[in-house]
Every structure is written in structure tokens, then in C-alpha cells.
């Protein structure tokens, strides 16, 4: 059992959730309420990771993060080490790959808020920012919870992109999914089986918690 890999996966998942959910909320809100040219294009872009093969996505990220790219060079100039095959690179990739999992549930939840409620918030004297905080945010909470859980669970399971941009450096980029693959390659069936079981249990537990939470929220509203 590779505890380092599990810890790394959990850390990656939590960081992705913490960083991505607030940003994705703002993006989801723009997509749900904004009327601007190119909205359809942005929506398609957000959904792209859903349909793009992870290896293809990983390949492009590898190129974009590479030492020849402006992003890679800037990172290296700043921190003195390359972005590819680093935890930061993995995190950045994770943020991009999870965009649809974070944006879409929140966008749906925000779009489902009756327009009258948002009008009522304005007529109650709430500025757009406080209307977002006191009306939209609480009403979209089930969607936000779903976004967080999907993002976390998806990060734990992501394989192709991680392999492409992160490789399998223990403690740095070897996630639990990669570790399972490693163990299978090494014919270490028992370790692979144990880790797979842990991941399965974790996924089931996450889903259970979400279901309970969303049911509670539904009954509260």
C-alpha cells in the first residue's frame, strides 16, 4: 500500500477543490446569467475536457507547460525548477481538467434559481455582490456541493492527464491511480488490489456523504 501516493492524491484533490470551486462559481455565474457574444464558445471550451481523450489533453498541457513554452519558462524563472513533472504542474492540469465537473453543476444550479428571486434581491436593496452572497450562493449550495465532490472524486481517479504531465515521481506526482497502475505493471497484485479497494471505499463514502448532504439541503429549502 502506497500511503504517500494516497496522501498526494488527497492533497491534490483538496487543493483542486479549494482553488477551483470559487473560480468556477464565478465562471458558472457568468455563463448562467450573462448575455454576451461568444457565450456558447466559452461553454464548449469548458466542456472540452469531458470529450477530449485524456492523453490528448495531457499532451497539449505537456507542451504548454514545457520548458520551451512561455508558461514553463516563466515558472522556471520564478521558482528555479521546471513546471512539468512537478506537483504544481499537476495541480494546474487538474484545475483545467476538472473545469466541466466544477462549472456545470453550479451553472445548472444557478440557472435553476427563479429569475424573480434575483429581481427580488435587487428590489430588497441588495447590490449584485451581496445578492450573490446572500441569495444565489445559498440557493446554489447543492450544486456547489456536487461540484466539489465531483471535482474531488475525479481528481482521485484521473490517470491519463496525470501520466502525461506528471509522470510518476514518488511524493511529487505519483498519485494513487498511477501507483495502482505501477503495482499492476510490477505484478504486485495484492498491493494493487488493496489500493483499488481503498479508492473504491473512498469513492463510495464520498458519494454517500454528498447524497446525505444534498437530501438534507433539499428538505431544508
Amino acid at each position: 500500500m502506497d500511503w504517500t501516493a494516497l496522501a498526494l492524491s488527497v492533497r491534490l484533490g483538496l487543493l483542486t477543490v479549494v482553488l477551483l470551486v470559487p473560480l468556477a462559481f464565478l465562471l458558472a455565474r457568468t455563463l448562467a446569467y450573462g448575455r454576451f457574444r461568444g457565450r456558447g464558445f466559452v461553454e464548449a471550451l469548458v466542456a472540452l475536457p469531458l470529450i477530449l481523450p485524456p492523453t490528448v489533453l495531457g499532451y497539449y498541457l505537456l507542451v504548454a507547460f514545457g520548458r520551451a513554452s512561455p508558461l514553463g519558462q516563466a515558472f522556471e524563472a520564478l521558482l528555479g525548477r521546471p513546471l512539468v513533472f512537478s506537483f504544481e504542474g499537476l495541480l494546474l492540469a487538474s484545475l483545467l481538467v476538472n473545469l466541466p465537473f466544477a462549472v456545470q453543476p453550479m451553472q445548472n444550479a444557478l440557472a435553476a434559481i427563479p429569475p424573480n428571486l434575483r429581481d427580488a434581491a435587487r428590489c430588497c436593496g441588495l447590490s449584485p455582490a451581496s445578492a450573490m452572497r446572500r441569495v444565489e450562493l445559498p440557493l446554489a449550495l447543492p450544486g456547489i456541493a456536487t461540484a466539489a465532490v465531483l471535482t474531488f472524486a475525479h481528481t482521485l481517479g484521473e490517470f491519463g492527464v496525470v501520466l502525461m504531465v506528471g509522470g510518476s515521481i514518488p511524493g511529487e506526482t505519483r498519485t494513487i491511480a498511477i501507483a495502482i497502475y505501477d503495482r499492476v505493471q510490477a505484478f504486485d497484485e495484492s498491493a494493487a488490489g488493496l489500493m483499488a479497494l481503498v479508492l473504491l471505499a473512498l469513492s463510495v463514502a464520498t458519494l454517500g456523504v454528498t447524497n446525505t448532504l444534498s437530501r438534507r439541503m433539499a428538505s431544508r429549502n
Partner: protein, 363 residues
Amino acid sequence: MAAGLLHVRLRQSAPFPLAVEFTAPPGSVTALFGPSGSGKTTVLRVIAGLHRPAEALVSCGADRWTDTQSGTFLPAHRRPLGFVFQDYALFPHLTVREQLALALGHRPASGRAERVAALLALARLEDLAGRRPAALSGGEQQRVALARALARDPAVLLLDEPFAAVDWALRESLRRELMALQRSLSLTVVLVTHDFEDVAKLASHLVILERGAVAAAGSVPDLTGRNAVPGVAGWREPAVALDARVVCHDSARQLTRLAAHGLQLDVPSVPAGVGATVRIQIGAREVILASRRPEGLSLHNVLEARVVAVESGGQDALRLVHLAAGDVRLLSLVTADAVRTLGLTPGAPVLALVKAVAVDAFA
């Protein structure tokens, strides 16, 4: 509550054509009346700053809220107005107390709890303060929506079909409560409705909208009681509303005599003092026409009138007869056959037998 004349003027060609202008004096109740799709709600949304038409001027007293000419636009949340939405638009995640507190952002934090308590008492919601909207009845939700709108200390109160979602029995009492509040706070109210009952019972001024334009505007008694209201033949229940004066009470017979523009009407006792003004409403179905004076009737009011016009009603076999009685315009819904047999042509004399008169002591 800074009262001032509310002046509204707007014009747009898209998404649907709309050209409306009217003023509402401080402390008045103006009804925007018309069939659905006539643009009533959009007018309210323009006043509230929730919709920006191509061309608009919305001013309240000396304050300009919207002026597309000078580019003035006060955002909705800075306008001192209360909006009661048709479906109430209560926040499902907040208790009654929290809904009211949310709308008190313009007051200093120290006085808010006290104000919430006062509003709860005003709308008789003390016992429901801890409940969420899902646990409230339709009438209770309406009171919460009204209290929340009043929490803004509004210069103008906007009501969008406020009684459409409650049943008939409740409607009466909610109207009464609303009028009492409007009186005591001398609120300027703009009310959107397609129910003439609301107009007759609540409004002092009337703006009739048809396909995005003002078909007629004026005071309710002048407009409906003394003129031909455009589109009246298409109403579900055509009626006129008038302001009448209490002349005397006959306690032995339990009757009250009312006078309005040269017309005298005896109605069941009205709880209003002699000299008081009451709003009366006479439905077209309550007026029977006769060519000779009948005898032995249970009704009290037989009025001499003259036919002004005959319109086809909403139903094929019915005609809406416009009558002049004194200075008052009455409506009578009769069959096309009756029009023929009684010879009801413009100018013909006729007797109008008024069965029932709805009286409200509000006016």
C-alpha cells in the same frame, strides 16, 4: 417616506412594442389594467429599474431614477421602492424574520431588529417569524411579501397581480388590509392587475393598457363611471366603478341612500357616516333593462337612462349596452334578442333596474 409625483414615460420597439406615459400623484393608488400581454408587468419592471427600455424617463418627485436621454440610471437596489411580485418571490432559504431583515440594508444595523419586530406586527406575522416560505399558506406568503416590500421604506410600492394567487375569500380581506396600510402610510402604489375588482376596490387612478399602449387614463370614477372605457366589452365581467356620497341612513329599513353625479341609489346599510365617500361598483350583469316601469320588485333602484351605445360582448349572443343615467355611465349585459325586442338603439330611453351594488368604504 419621501412622497413625490411619480412620472413614468417609456418607449421601446423590441422585444415587443411599448409606449406608455402616466403620472401617479403621491399617496395615490394607480392601477395598470389590461389583458395579459399588454405590457403591464414590463412597466413595473421599468419603474423598479429591472428593465431598461430603449427610451425611458422614471422620476419620483425631484429624483430621476431612469432617464435614457441624459443617461441617468439608478440601479434597482438603490431605488427606494418595494416590489411585491406576482408569485411573491420569497427566498426559500430564509425565515420570515430573515426575509424582512434582508431588506433593511438601508437602515443602520442598530435599529434593524426593532424594525423587523414592527413589520412583523404590522403584517400580523409575529407567530410565523421563524418559518420558511414553504411552511406558509398563500395568504401568509402574500403578507410576508408585502411586509418585505414595506421594509424598504418605499417611496413607491409596486404590486404585480398581488391577489392572483390567492382564493376569492382571502382576496377580500387582503385587499382590505392593503388599503388600510396604504391609507395609514399614505403610500404611492402602482398596481398591475387584470381583475377589475382590484381596480374598483383599490385604485384611485387607472391606466388602461392595450397592446403596449395607453388606451385611457384618468381617475377611476371619471374613467369607468363617466366615459366609455376602451375594451370594456372584452372584459370577463364588465362593470363600472364610481365614487358616491352617503346621503342618509334609513335604519328602520336597513338601507343607505347614496348619491353620485345626479344618481340616487338605495343600498343595504353601509357602515359609513353621512357625507362620507364610498366606492361603488355596478356590474353589467347586475343591470336589467326595461321599457316600462315594472311593479312589485325586490330591487330598490330603478333609474331612468338613455342608451348611448350597443357593443358586441365577449359572447356571441350577448350585447353590452352603454347607458347614461344622470351624469353616470352604466353598463348592462343583455341578450342580442333583448336589444331587438326593446329597441335598444342609441338615444332610446330605457329604465335600468340595478340589482346589486358593491359598496366599499375605502374611497
